[in-house]
Amino acid sequence: MAEHAILIVEDDSTVRELLKYRLNKKYDVATAANGEEALEQIERKTPHLIISDIMMPKMDGFALQSKLQDDKNTRVIPFIFLTARADEPTRRQGARTGVDDYITKPFDMEQLLTRIERLLERMQVFQTQLDAEIGRDFSNRLLPKSLPEVDGYEIFFHSEAREQGGGDLFDWTKADDGSYFITIGDVMGKGIRAKFYAFSFLSYVRATLHTLLQESTSPAGILARINEMLLTDEVLEETFASFLLFNWDPSTHTVTYANAGHCRPVIITPDGASVAEHSDLILGLEGNASFKDETIHLDPGTALMAYTDGLLEHPVNGHDVLGEAGILDIAAQTLDADKPIDALLNEALSRGNDDSFHDDVLVYWMQRNT
């Protein structure tokens, strides 16, 4: 699998072809016969690493290297000089310019391959660390700074982001009539891209909610509006999201929800746990999709739980996943726990072989006590 692109710059066609032949097995190789040609190649496609001769017609290796140093996009590309013994004095001169490695011709191919691998590996590690850092940053921004506080209710929330996780999102806002809007969703995709879209998407949803709440408090109406946006907005094109929107009114103890293909929320009473059945199509797929509101009444001692698919898809017993049935089973047992989400997650983990979740896991739990 050719994941890394390497550019070979060498005027001697025999050496050039030999290098190309050996490196082609592992890398995506491009070649150039001098510095000028190399710059044209780099313009077309930025390589992950450059191996360059020093003495070449038109533009030599030093000139190429210093040209690349001028541009912030190319100065970070790992650069290996291939030098003839006769070039040793000039090589020492080149040591000032910050080159990553030197290989002296005639060179040992294995040694060159090892060095290439080490340089690319180092780049990869930095990239992974950076991705993880940005990913964590987005995840943190997607977290609520606080939770609603309402007499007679207890609210719990848990979100744990994984590097390979996706675009889980959560938000809440209080409307003028004293009711709350609670948003839980998952933007499809993995890694930073999904997190970035989740972040952009959440900003849009916030703005849309504030505008729409002037006219209506129907979660279904709001989902229909967000669906239209996903299908027409160019930035968010190709973004698909499962989405759950609650309108919770503590004065009437009701929760009106609309569900666009998201994991179905669970209602837990002392008699057991059940799913809030109704759900419609995921967002971003079809223009004329319709959404429906459903209302749940929360009696004292009843909890409502919503979650993302990282919990649902958690592997248990090796080959199976926890699934809705597993979640219902666990949720029914955790109603009386002091920290219901912790109890729920611990039980979910104890049913699998791993001591942590692989995917992002987000859980929202609200409970009416009195």
Binding site: D186, M188, G189, K190, E238, L281, I282, L285, E286, D309
Partner: protein, 112 residues
């Protein structure tokens, strides 16, 4: 390539989805169907008989396919859907968009 493509007619192809469609190979699936779209295919029958894993990135790539071919009255049909795929399809309510058939032949008859 982990996806094999079989052309049933100038406009209809079957793609065998293999064991998994997830974040690891979703891009590969995208380039597979993209070249079929470029060749004029609008109807896609996805054979899920061997598929044990379909994650949200994988499903998203199928959505991308649907978004591209639906303006040309194209269809995406699911054939021989395995249980793990069925769970995802139910959860996301996507059976409303992707018709399901017991076999590739049945899907082909319906799309013809």
């Amino acid at each position: 390539m982990s996806f094999t493509v079989e052309s049933l007619s100038p406009q209809t192809v079957v793609i065998r989805m293999g064991e998994a469609l997830d974040f690891r190979n979703a891009d590969e699936f995208k380039s597979t169907f993209q070249s079929e779209i470029d060749d004029g295919s609008v109807n896609f029958i996805l054979d899920f008989s061997d598929t044990a894993v379909l994650d949200s990135t994988g499903l998203g790539s199928i959505f991308s396919l649907y978004r591209q071919i639906s303006p040309d009255d194209g269809q995406v049909a699911f054939a021989d859907v395995s249980r793990p795929v069925q769970v995802v399809v139910q959860l996301t309510r996507t059976y409303k968009v992707f018709r399901q058939f017991p076999t590739v032949d049945a899907a082909h008859d319906a799309l013809a």
